[in-house]
């Protein structure tokens, strides 16, 4: 949950411009007891916001490694399938849609590499917003979400954040 649940909490806090979820509900499981005797290797965290929700699935039980995100808006959806492959679907009728598929190039320096970004920030060539993905404020919220998720998984109850 900590190893891979944090990605979703981080991305969601960014998308919500720093807003915390109102509620955190989580389950954890140990599906490979023989391989991971000390830790839970499966987690699902549900984040409740005022008009939206997020499902964060961090797991060591996928057959194929993945780091992806699907965002569903009121009129369509965007899919970050992996680092480079992006899709957008605009809704038509009941279950039809128009799809745009893109393969994206790497971002421009220094936004393509953590250490070059770090250097540019230290040298004040760029600035950082509190809810940028790397920022301290964003990541304080991530830790708060993970603490709440751990508590929820342990007690079987939803945790409400202040």
């Amino acid at each position: 949950m900590v190893d891979f649940g944090c990605y979703g909490a981080n991305l969601m806090t960014w998308l919500m411009e720093g807003k915390k979820p109102q509620s955190v509900t989580a389950i954890t499981q140990q599906l490979q007891a023989e391989n991971n005797p000390q830790v839970d290797d499966e987690s699902i965290i549900i984040l409740g916001y005022e008009n939206a929700n997020a499902i964060v699935q961090g797991s060591w039980n996928w057959p194929i490694g993945r780091k992806d995100m699907e965002i569903y808006g009121e009129t369509g959806a965007v899919y970050a399938d992996n680092r480079y492959n992006y899709r957008m679907r605009i809704a038509k009728g009941y279950d039809d849609f128009e799809e745009t598929t893109l393969t994206l190039p790497e971002r421009a320096a220094p936004y393509n590499d953590p250490f070059h970004y770090f250097k540019a920030l230290i040298n004040e060539e760029i600035s950082i917003s509190p809810y940028d993905l790397s920022a301290l404020e964003n990541n304080m919220v991530v830790v708060e979400i993970l603490d709440a998720a751990r508590e929820s998984a342990k007690t079987g109850k939803t945790v409400y954040l202040k």
Partner: protein
Amino acid sequence: MRRTVGRFLSALLVALSFGSAHASDKLKIGVVGLTHTHVHWIFESEKQGQFEIVGIVEQNKDLAQRYATQHNYSMDKVYDSMDAMFAEQDVQAVAAFGTIYEHLEVVQKAAPRGVHVMVEKPLAINMEHASEMEALATKHNIHLLTNYETTWYPTNHKAYEAIKNDEVGDIRKVIVRDGHKGPAKLGINSEF
């Protein structure tokens, strides 16, 4: 005001020197811990010449030697402790690749020296650690960043822009899926 002018001047100096490949332009980075497998990332990135890894803190000398062979660094710059590294090297920033539990100690040692810190995700093991780290970073005015692989994905930034440009309306539901088949099945090193 004086501070603003100072910042402007330092930014100007950086801008003027940017692109010239003087060794002095390189940010001096210390690596604390080698146990996180993402550590290979910093050795690969160093090859682009923008920064220099001036010290590595790792007590497991077998692991340090293995990576020294792989990434061609001298064992002379491998230290047993952060104190030992800071005593010998002029470190401007550290990147923490040890366990999440150790992130607090890295900030406790680095922040009072004015050394900036970047940790591998997540920031801290719990809110107690995170709050202490935040207080230290604020008090000593250092950057404290958290590095996630997905921060650098062009697709995530495109998705963010699509939402902010109202291309699919207000967010109703987000699904984020991350992970792999597990360290054991992947044969990830035993230190991890």
